[in-house]
C-alpha cells in the first residue's frame, strides 16, 4: 500500500468532497473511482494536512462521511458504507461481514464489453451500495428482502435489475447518448455533433501526424471523402487540394484555411503536431458562414490547448528517415544511344537531316572529352538520372508542454523539421514555436491568445514548373547525353553538349545548372491572435478577437556564371556574370472579429443557439524585386553589383463581414439551422462591393424516433439536407481586377532612351463580381451494432455561376491583355461514402477499418465568350509547338484532353497511297495528301474525324480527361497488446495523364530524348510495331502530335502509409524510469511503399498541375506530366515520449 504512504499537504475549508478528492488527484497522480451520487460527493467538509501520509488524510476526511476506500492498482475505489451503524466492510472480504443477509456478486460491462470500474451499485430505496472495481466486478451485501439493484454511472443510462433469487448479476450498461454528445468545431464556434446538419468531416490529430509530411494538406490525402490531395512539386510546396471537384476555371481551387478562427495561408509554416483536430467543411451550409471565400470549401484547424487543473505534461515526438524515388525511367546508355543515332541518320530516316552530328562517328567517339581525360566519349557512360536523383534525409521533431491550473491553461511547443528531397537542388527546413494560453479573470472574463512563429527555408529549382524547351529538370533529364562526362576535374569546366552539328542538340548540363543556379526562399511567419471572452449570462457570451498574420518571404537567387567546355570551346556562361536576384514578398493582415453567441435550452425540448458576428480583415501585399550582375561568383548579394534593377509594388484589400446564424433543435430530433453572411470586398468596383451568402439546413435524428428504436442493431441515424451559396475569394483575382491600368513605355525618338509613352492594354470591367456557388447536400449518418459500425453518405450538387474568365477580345479591339468577365457556369455533382468498423471492447487484439470513396462529375454548363472555348496546356516540345493539350467547352468536363485520334501504324505504302488517293477524290485537289506528303509506312495514321478527306486541325476530339471516376482511401488499424499497426491505402480510379515527359523521352523528332524502350519499340521494317511509329528526322508526319499515344490511365492504388509501433506498458515504464516517463512508443513506418499503376511514361502517377501560376494556363493543366517532382518512398523511425 505504498500509495497510501505518500505524503501530501492540503488545506481546504468548506470544500466539497469532490473538490478535495480532485485536489488530491492533482497532488498524487492517484485516481479516485467513485459514484458521486453514492458517496454524496457534494457534501462539504474541511481538511488541513501538513506533509501527512495520504492514509491519514483520507481517514480524516472520509471516515466521518462513512466512505470506505480501497486501493486497486493505481486507483482508490470509494464506496459508501452500507449501514449507518455497520463497520466498513471491504466487499472483497465478505467473510468478515456482519449482519449478512446474502451476497450478490457480478460484473458490469460497457457497451463494448469492457469491465466498467466505479459503477455505483445501490439497493433501490436504500443508501446501501458499493462501486465496481477496476475490472467491473462488484460484491454487495443486501438484505434478504431487497428487490431491485440500481446500476448507475456517469455517461451511461441507469439500469434497474430485479434480484429475485439470483446471487450473480451480469449486466451491460448502454451509453447515454445525450451525455456523450461530441462537440464539433464549426465556423465561429462549436456545435453538438448530434445537432449538426451539414457535411463536415473530421480528421484527428493521430491521423494527421501519422505521415512525416511538411504540410497539413499532405496529411489529409486519402482520409476524407470528397477531398483530393495531389502532389505538385518538391518539399515545401503546397499540394493541390480540392474539395468536391474543380469549382473554378480560372483560379486556384485551394480551400480557405482557418486556423483557430483566423483565415490564413502558408500552411507549410504550420506544424501538424500542434493540431488537435481538422474539420473539413464541405457543403454550403457549413462553409457559407465564411461566405465570400468558401466556394472551394473550408478547412478549420484547431490547435492544441492546455486543460484546466491538469498537471503539466511534456511530449516529445520525433522521427527520422530516408526517402528515395520509387521509380526511375530507362535512359539509353552510350552504346544504345549510338545505335539510336545510327537509326536516326541512316537510310530514308535521315532525309533532310543534314550532316550526321560529328560526335557519332568512330573518330568522334574516340576523342577525349577534355585534355587528359581518362576515357574517350565512347568509354564514358554517365547515368545522369542517377546523378540527379538521390536519397534524402528527413526528420521531424516536436516538443510540447501543456497543462493548466483552475484559472489558466497553456500549450506551448517547439518544432524542427527537415526534408532534403529526392533530387538535387531542393529541400525544406522549418523551425516553429507555438504558445496557446487562456486565463480566467474573475467569473465573467477569459483572456487568451494563440501565437505561431515559424521560419521556413525552401531550396527550390527555379525552372520547375516551366515548360517548353527549357522544361523542368526532369524533362530536360530525358535529353541528357550519356557519352558526356559531367565535369573536367582539372579545369573545373562543366561538360556540355556541343550543339546540333556536334552532339545532335545543345541541351545543358543539368548537374552544372543545379550546382550553379541556386534559389532559396526564406519565409518568416507570425500568426497570432488574442481574444477576450465575456460571459454576459450563462447562455450569452461575447468574444472579441484581434489578430495579426504576417508572412515575409525572401527569395534569394544566384544564377552563377560557370565554365563550360562544349567540346569545341571553353567559355564562361552568361559572359562571366552572375545574376543575383533578391525578391521580397510581404503579406500582413489584421483581423478583428466581434462575436456574440447565445445558447439556451428552454424546458427540455427546445434548444436554441445563435451567433452574431461583425468582422474585418485587411491584407497588405508589398513586393520588392531587385536584381543585378556580379562578376565575382563568390559574392551572393547585390553589393557592388552592376545592371541593378529594382521594382516594388504595394497592394491592399479589405473584407468587411456581417454574419448571423441561428439554430433550433426540438427534442434533439428535429433540427433547423440557417445563416447569412454579408461580405463587402474592396476588390470589386464601387457598386459591386457587397454580396450576400445565405444557407439553410435541416436535420432529422430519425434514430431517436420510437419506431426506430425497435431496430436493435441501429444505434443511431440522422438524415440531413442543406442548401447555400458561397463565393470565390476575390483576392484570387488580384486586388484591383476591374481596373485598366496605364502602363509606361518608351520610343527612342532620335535614338534616345527616355520613358515617354503611356498606354492601356485592356478593357476595364466595372461589372465584375463574385463567382458564386450554390450547393445542395443531402446526407445520412448512421451507426450500427452499438456504434461499432458507422456510415456517412452524402449526395451533393454544386453549381458555380458567374465564373470569371479572361475574356479574349477580338484582336481588332487592340487590347493585349484579356479582361476578367463573369461569363461561365459549371456543375460538380457526386456522392461520398464513408464506412467504418471498430472491434468492440478492449481486448488484447483490437482492430478497426475505415474506408471512403467519392465520386464527382464535372460539367461546364455555359461559356459565354465569343468562341466559347478555352484552351490550356500549350508548351513547346511536348505539344507540337503551342498546340494546346486541353480544351474547355460548354457541355463537357473542364479541360478535357483534346487531340488527334490515333488509328494505327501504316504498315505498307499501299495503305498510305490509298488514303492519299481518297483525299484527292474527296477534296477534288490533286495536291491533297491525307496527312502529309512525307507520310510513309511506319507513320501513325490518325483518323479523319470530319470526313473531309484530310487530317488537319479540325480532326481533333476529346481523347481523355484528368478527372478520375472515383477516389478512395482505406485505413486499417490494429493493436495487439502493446503493438499497434496502421495501414493506409489511397487510390484514384480512372482518368488519364497526358505525359509530356513521355514526349520528351520518346518522341524522337530530332536526336532528342532517351527512352530505351521507346527506341527499341519503334517501327522498322523488321519490327512492324502497331503502337510505336518509325523514327524519322523532324517527324514530318507529326507522329508525336497530341494523341492517345501520350495518354495513359491515371489510376493508381498506393500503400500510402504503413506503420508498426510498440508502446511500453505504463507500469513497466513507471517502474524502470522511476516515473520519469509516462509514455514511450517507438514506431517504424514507410510511405508510398507500394504503388500499383499502369502509368509508365513518367516518374509517378500522382500528377498535379503546372505550378507557379494560380490562374490562366496553369489552372487548365491538371494531369499533364510536365516532368513533375514525384512522390517519394520513405522509411522513418519515430519515437514518442511522454514525461
Amino acid at each position: 500500500q505504498e500509495l497510501l504512504d505518500k505524503r501530501i499537504s492540503l488545506r481546504a475549508e468548506d470544500a466539497t468532497l469532490k473538490n478535495i478528492l480532485h485536489r488530491i488527484e492533482e497532488l498524487t497522480e492517484i485516481r479516485f473511482t467513485y459514484s458521486p451520487r453514492v458517496i454524496q460527493a457534494d457534501r462539504r467538509t474541511s481538511v488541513s494536512a501538513q506533509n501527512q501520509p495520504l492514509r491519514e488524510v483520507l481517514e480524516t476526511v472520509l471516515k466521518p462521511m462513512r466512505v470506505h476506500y480501497r486501493v486497486a492498482g493505481n486507483q482508490i475505489v470509494l464506496s459508501q458504507q452500507p449501514a449507518p451503524t455497520g463497520e466498513a466492510v471491504p466487499p472483497a472480504n465478505a467473510a468478515q461481514a456482519t449482519a449478512v443477509d446474502r451476497t450478490i456478486t457480478g460484473t458490469v460491462k460497457s457497451e463494448t464489453g469492457e469491465g466498467l470500474p466505479g459503477v455505483s451499485v445501490v439497493v433501490k430505496g436504500t443508501t446501501q451500495g458499493t462501486t465496481t472495481n477496476a475490472e467491473g466486478h462488484f460484491s454487495l451485501l443486501v438484505p434478504d428482502n431487497a428487490g431491485t439493484i440500481v446500476f448507475s454511472y456517469v455517461g451511461y443510462l441507469s439500469r434497474e435489475v430485479p434480484l429475485g433469487n439470483q446471487s450473480q448479476v451480469e449486466i451491460q450498461l448502454a451509453p447515454n447518448l445525450k451525455a456523450l454528445d461530441e462537440v464539433v468545431v464549426v465556423g465561429y464556434g462549436t456545435q453538438i455533433k448530434r445537432e449538426l446538419t451539414s457535411a463536415i468531416s473530421r480528421v484527428s490529430a493521430k491521423e494527421l501526424t501519422e505521415l512525416p509530411v511538411a504540410e497539413v494538406g499532405q496529411a489529409l490525402q486519402g482520409r476524407v471523402p470528397g477531398l483530393t490531395v495531389t502532389n505538385v512539386s518538391s518539399p515545401g510546396t503546397a499540394p493541390n487540394i480540392r474539395i468536391r471537384g474543380v469549382s473554378s476555371v480560372s483560379f486556384s481551387t485551394d480551400p480557405l484555411y482557418v486556423i483557430d478562427g483566423f483565415p490564413t495561408t502558408n500552411l507549410a509554416s504550420f506544424d501538424n503536431r500542434d493540431v488537435e483536430s481538422v474539420e473539413i467543411l464541405k457543403d454550403a451550409s457549413a462553409a457559407a458562414i465564411y461566405g465570400s471565400r468558401a466556394t472551394n470549401g473550408v478547412i478549420l484547424l484547431t490547435t492544441k490547448k492546455g486543460q484546466r487543473n491538469k498537471k503539466m505534461t511534456v511530449n516529445l515526438d520525433s522521427y527520422a528517415g530516408i526517402e528515395s524515388p520509387w521509380r526511375k525511367l530507362d535512359p539509353m546508355n552510350t552504346e544504345q544511344r549510338s545505335r539510336f543515332m545510327d537509326a536516326m541518320f541512316s537510310g530514308a530516316n535521315q532525309e533532310n537531316a543534314g550532316a550526321r552530328p560529328s560526335r557519332y562517328t568512330t573518330a568522334g567517339m574516340n576523342k577525349l572529352p577534355y585534355p587528359g581525360a581518362p576515357q574517350t566519349y565512347a568509354q564514358t557512360n554517365t547515368d545522369w538520372q542517377d546523378l540527379y536523383f538521390k536519397k534524402g534525409f528527413m526528420t521531424g521533431n516536436n516538443l510540447s508542454l501543456s497543462g493548466g491550473s483552475d484559472q489558466s491553461t497553456f500549450y506551448s511547443s517547439a518544432g524542427y523539421m527537415r526534408q532534403e528531397g529526392i533530387v538535387k537542388g531542393v529541400g525544406f527546413d522549418r523551425y516553429n514555436f507555438r504558445v496557446n494560453s487562456s486565463h480566467d479573470l474573475g467569473k465573467r472574463f477569459t483572456f487568451g491568445q494563440n501565437l505561431l512563429v515559424a521560419y521556413t527555408s525552401q531550396l527550390y529549382n527555379n525552372s520547375d514548373g516551366q515548360t517548353g524547351d527549357q522544361g523542368t529538370p526532369l524533362s530536360l533529364l530525358q535529353f541528357a547525353l550519356p557519352h558526356l562526362p559531367v565535369k573536367d576535374p582539372t579545369s573545373n569546366a562543366w561538360i556540355k553538349a556541343g550543339g546540333d552539328a556536334i552532339d545532335g542538340h545543345p541541351f545543358p548540363n543539368l548537374i552544372a545548372d543545379i550546382e550553379n543556379i541556386v534559389f532559396r526562399r526564406n519565409t518568416t511567419k507570425i500568426l497570432g491572435s488574442a481574444f477576450l471572452d465575456v460571459k454576459l449570462f450563462e447562455w450569452l457570451k461575447f468574444r472579441s478577437t484581434f489578430g495579426i498574420d504576417y508572412a515575409n518571404s525572401l527569395e534569394n537567387g544566384a544564377d552563377n556564371s560557370y565554365t563550360v567546355n562544349d567540346g569545341n570551346n571553353v567559355f564562361k556562361t552568361n559572359d562571366g556574370l552572375s545574376t543575383i536576384s533578391s525578391n521580397r514578398n510581404t503579406y500582413s493582415s489584421l483581423l478583428f472579429s466581434e462575436q456574440l453567441t447565445a445558447d439556451k435550452t428552454f424546458g427540455t425540448d427546445h434548444h436554441l443557439n445563435a451567433i452574431l458576428v461583425f468582422e474585418g480583415q485587411n491584407g497588405k501585399i508589398r513586393t520588392e524585386m531587385m536584381s543585378g550582375k556580379q562578376s565575382n561568383p563568390a559574392i551572393r548579394t547585390l553589393n557592388g553589383a552592376t545592371n541593378l534593377s529594382a521594382l516594388n509594388a504595394l497592394e491592399e484589400n479589405l473584407l468587411l463581414s456581417y454574419v448571423v446564424r441561428a439554430g433550433y433543435a426540438y427534442k434533439g430530433k428535429y433540427i433547423l439551422n440557417a445563416s447569412i453572411r454579408r461580405d463587402g470586398s474592396s476588390v470589386w468596383a464601387p457598386g459591386n462591393k457587397f454580396a450576400n451568402f445565405p444557407a439553410a439546413s435541416v436535420g432529422w435524428n430519425i434514430g431517436q424516433e420510437s419506431f426506430m428504436q425497435k431496430l436493435s442493431f441501429l444505434s443511431d441515424m440522422k438524415l440531413r439536407a442543406s442548401y447555400g451559396i458561397t463565393g470565390l475569394n476575390p483576392t484570387s483575382l488580384s486586388n484591383y481586377p476591374w481596373q485598366s491600368l496605364v502602363y509606361n513605355s518608351s520610343y527612342p525618338f532620335n535614338n534616345e532612351n527616355t520613358v515617354n509613352a503611356s498606354f492601356y492594354n485592356k478593357l476595364a470591367n466595372q461589372n465584375l463580381k463574385w463567382e458564386k456557388t450554390s450547393q445542395l447536400n443531402i446526407g445520412l449518418d448512421a451507426s450500427l451494432f452499438n456504434n461499432s459500425v458507422t456510415v456517412t453518405a452524402e449526395y451533393f450538387n454544386r453549381t458555380t455561376d458567374n465564373l470569371i474568365l479572361k475574356a479574349p477580345t477580338p484582336p481588332s479591339f487592340g487590347y493585349v491583355q484579356f479582361t476578367d468577365v463573369n461569363i461561365g457556369k459549371m456543375e460538380n455533382k457526386g456522392w461520398e461514402l464513408a464506412l467504418g468498423y471498430r472491434s468492440p471492447g478492449k481486448r488484447d487484439f483490437n482492430w478497426g477499418i475505415s474506408g471512403n470513396i467519392s465520386v464527382v462529375r464535372n460539367k461546364v454548363l455555359r461559356l459565354d465568350s465569343p468562341s466559347g472555348v478555352i484552351y490550356g496546356g500549350d508548351g513547346n516540345y511536348f505539344s507540337s509547338w503551342g498546340v494546346p493539350v486541353t480544351r474547355t467547352v460548354a457541355g463537357e468536363s473542364i479541360q478535357a484532353f483534346y487531340g488527334w485520334d490515333f488509328d494505327k501504324i501504316y504498315q505498307t505504302q499501299a495503305e498510305v497511297d490509298a488514303d492519299n488517293a481518297a483525299a484527292r477524290t474527296k477534296t477534288g485537289s490533286d495536291g491533297a495528301w491525307y496527312q502529309a506528303q512525307a507520310t510513309a509506312p511506319g507513320d501513325v495514321r490518325f483518323r479523319d474525324l470530319n470526313g473531309d478527306g484530310v487530317v488537319d486541325d479540325k480532326d481533333r476530339k476529346v481523347i481523355g480527361s484528368f478527372l478520375p471516376d472515383f477516389t478512395y482511401g482505406l485505413n486499417f488499424t490494429a493493436s495487439y497488446k502493446h503493438f499497434d499497426l496502421s495501414i493506409l491505402f489511397q487510390g484514384v480510379q480512372g482518368g488519364e495523364i497526358y505525359s509530356g515527359i513521355g514526349v520528351y523521352a520518346g518522341a524522337f523528332r530530332w536526336p532528342l530524348g532517351g527512352s530505351l524502350r521507346a527506341f527499341e519499340n519503334a517501327w522498322t521494317a523488321e519490327n512492324p510495331s502497331t503502337t510505336d511509329p518509325r523514327i524519322k528526322w523532324s517527324d514530318p508526319n507529326d507522329n508525336s502530335r497530341i494523341s492517345q499515344r501520350w495518354l495513359q490511365d491515371a489510376s493508381y492504388l498506393r500503400l500510402k502509409n504503413i506503420s508498426i509501433g510498440y508502446e511500453l506498458p505504463a507500469d513497466v515504464l513507471a517502474k524502470n524510469t522511476n516515473g520519469a516517463f509516462s509514455k514511450f512508443r517507438i514506431y517504424l513506418s514507410s510511405q508510398n511503399l507500394l504503388t500499383f499503376t499502369k502509368y509508365d511514361l513518367g516518374y509517378d502517377p500522382e500528377i498535379g498541375m503546372k505550378i507557379g501560376s494560380n490562374r490562366g494556363a496553369g489552372n487548365l493543366t491538371n494531369g499533364i506530366d510536365y516532368g513533375q517532382y514525384p512522390a517519394a518512398r520513405s522509411f522513418t523511425l519515430g519515437v514518442q515520449l511522454g514525461f
Partner: protein, 476 residues
C-alpha cells in the same frame, strides 16, 4: 467603416484618369510608335510577312510559320500573319485613344499629336486593307465587350486612311527638332497618300500628293546607297519616315505578354545575316535577284554579299543578305538584334512612285526623268550606271517604261517590304506579263491575293461576317 472598401491602386493610374492633358496625349501617341517598332510589326513579323511574300528571298530550311508564308501554304493559324494583324490594331487602338480624347490645355501640341496619331492609324489601315482586303474599321477605343465591328470593304478602309492622312498632312510639321526625329511629318503623310492612291489605281491623285514631297529643298538622295541601311546614317536627307530601334544594349526584341516592355530592337537581322560560324543561312537572297542587277549597278553590293566579299568578320564564304544586316560592322556570330532604323518611306521610292504615276497618267518623259533621278545618286553616277533609256531598257512605249520602272523598283527597293505590294498592284492591273508572268510561283488565283483573316479574329469577333463582307477571304 465601409468607406474603407474604396481602395486606390497605389501602383499605377487607371485608364479613366489619364489622357487628360496634351502632354499625356503625346505619351499616348508615342505608345503607338512603340507598337510599330515591337516584334509584331517592324521589329520582326511585319518584315517577314512582306518580304517572304516577295520573290526576293529563298530559305529552304526556314521552318515554323515563316516557312509557310514563303511557300504560300499559310493557313488561318499562321502566327506571323496573326501578329501583324494584332500589331496594327494595337497601333490603331492607341491612336484612337489620342484622337478621341479632348484636351484644351495646349492646343498646338494636341493638334500635332492627333495628326501623328491619324498618320499612324492611316498607316495601319493601309497595311491591313492592302494585305487582307476589307477589315473592321474601328475609329474609337472599344469600351464594351460586345463592341464587335464587321469587316468594311477595302475601298472604305482606304478612304478612311486617306481622310486621316489629308488631315494629318495639314497639321503635321515638315520637320521637327532633332530630339523628335522619327515622328511623322507632312512629307511622310503625303508620300503615304501617294502609296495608297497608287494601290487603289488612282494615279492622278497619287501624283498630286507625291509631287508635294518632291518640292525642292525637302528631301534628296544620299550619295551612298548604303547610307539608307546603316545605323550611323539614320535620319538622313533621303529618309521620309523611319521606324526607330533602340541603340541601347538593354533593349528587348519582344514586348512580352503584357506589352509593358520599353525599348525594342529589330530581330530579323540574325535570320538574314549568314552565320559564318555555324554555317546557318536561314534566308538568302533569291538567285533571280542577283541576276536582276546590271553589271555596273553598285546597289547590288549594298544589297547582297557575294562569296569573297569582305564583312566585319573577314571574307564571306557564302552568298548572304547585306541590306539592313549588322554584318558590315559586327562580327559576332548568331542571332544579334539590330538597332538599324528601318526607313519605311524614303525619297528614292517616292521618285519611283512618281515615275509610275507619270507613266500611267502623265508623260513618259517625266516618268523617265524620275527614273533617272534615282540613277543620279552619286555612287551610281560614279559607277557609270547607264541612265534610261538604254540598250536593256529602251523605254519607247508605256510598257517599256513600265518594265524599266519594275526593274528599278526591284533593285532599288529589294528586301524593303515594298515588293509584295508592288506585285499585288501589278497583278491586279495585269502588268506582270511584262516581266514574264507572276513571279510568285505558288500563286493560285482566288487564294493568294489576300492573306487569311486570323482564326482568333474569326473566333472572337462574332460580328465579323455580318457586314456584307464574308468573315474569311477566299481560299482559306
Amino acid at each position: 467603416c465601409e468607406s474603407q472598401l474604396e481602395k486606390v491602386n497605389p501602383n499605377a493610374v487607371t485608364s479613366e484618369n489619364y489622357f487628360k492633358t496634351a502632354a499625356e496625349l503625346e505619351k499616348g501617341v508615342n505608345a503607338a510608335y512603340t507598337t510599330l517598332n515591337g516584334s509584331y510589326l517592324v521589329g520582326n513579323c511585319y518584315v517577314w510577312l512582306h518580304d517572304l511574300r516577295s520573290d526576293d528571298f529563298v530559305g529552304t530550311t526556314l521552318a515554323d510559320d515563316r516557312g509557310e508564308i514563303l511557300r504560300g501554304s499559310l493557313g488561318v493559324n499562321n502566327s506571323y500573319t496573326e501578329r501583324v494583324w494584332k500589331g496594327f490594331y494595337i497601333v490603331i487602338h492607341r491612336a484612337n485613344v489620342v484622337i478621341n480624347n479632348t484636351v484644351t490645355d495646349d492646343e498646338a501640341l494636341k493638334n500635332r499629336v492627333v495628326a501623328e496619331a491619324k498618320f499612324l492609324r492611316a498607316f495601319s489601315y493601309f497595311e491591313l486593307a492592302s494585305l487582307w482586303g476589307g477589315v473592321p474599321l474601328i475609329t474609337k477605343p472599344v469600351s464594351d465587350f460586345s463592341g464587335f465591328v464587321p469587316r468594311s470593304t477595302q475601298p472604305a478602309v482606304y478612304e478612311a486612311a486617306i481622310n486621316d492622312l489629308k488631315e494629318a498632312a495639314e497639321a503635321l510639321p515638315s520637320t521637327y527638332d532633332a530630339k523628335d526625329n522619327g515622328r511623322a511629318t507632312k512629307g511622310a503623310a503625303n508620300a503615304l497618300l501617294g502609296r495608297i492612291y497608287m494601290q487603289m489605281g488612282d494615279f492622278a491623285n497619287a501624283k498630286t500628293y507625291l509631287e508635294k514631297v518632291r518640292t525642292p529643298g525637302q528631301y534628296a538622295l544620299t550619295d551612298d546607297s548604303n547610307d539608307n541601311f546603316r545605323e550611323e546614317t539614320e535620319f538622313n536627307k533621303e529618309s521620309i519616315f523611319e521606324c526607330v530601334f533602340s541603340p541601347y544594349p538593354s533593349a528587348a526584341e519582344d514586348e512580352g505578354d503584357d506589352y509593358a516592355q520599353g525599348l525594342y530592337r529589330e530581330s530579323t537581322n540574325g535570320t538574314r545575316q549568314y552565320d559564318m560560324n555555324t554555317g546557318n543561312g536561314i534566308v538568302l537572297p533569291a538567285p533571280g535577284l542577283k541576276k536582276d542587277f546590271e553589271t555596273a549597278d553598285v546597289r547590288r553590293k549594298a544589297t547582297i554579299y557575294d562569296v569573297g566579299d569582305t564583312w566585319a568578320g573577314g571574307r564571306m564564304t557564302q552568298e548572304s543578305w547585306k541590306k539592313y544586316t549588322l554584318s558590315y560592322k559586327n562580327a559576332t556570330p548568331g542571332n544579334v538584334a539590330s538597332a538599324i532604323n528601318r526607313r519605311l518611306i524614303r525619297y528614292a521610292e517616292v521618285l519611283l512612285m512618281l515615275a509610275e504615276c507619270e507613266n500611267e497618267t502623265g508623260s513618259l518623259v517625266n516618268a523617265i526623268a524620275r527614273l533617272n533621278d534615282v540613277r543620279s545618286r552619286t555612287d551610281l553616277k560614279t559607277a557609270k550606271l547607264p541612265q534610261f533609256p538604254n540598250a536593256a531598257f529602251p523605254c519607247r512605249t508605256r510598257d517599256e517604261v513600265m518594265k524599266a520602272i519594275m526593274h528599278e523598283r526591284k533593285v532599288e527597293l529589294a528586301g524593303e517590304q515594298v515588293r509584295n505590294r508592288d506585285i499585288m498592284r501589278w497583278r491586279a492591273s495585269g502588268k506582270l506579263a511584262l516581266i514574264g508572268g507572276d513571279p510568285i510561283t505558288y500563286f493560285q488565283a482566288n487564294r493568294h491575293e489576300l492573306l487569311p483573316i486570323p482564326q482568333s479574329e474569326i473566333d472572337r469577333n462574332i460580328a465579323l461576317g455580318t457586314g456584307g463582307v464574308p468573315a474569311q477571304n477566299p481560299g482559306y
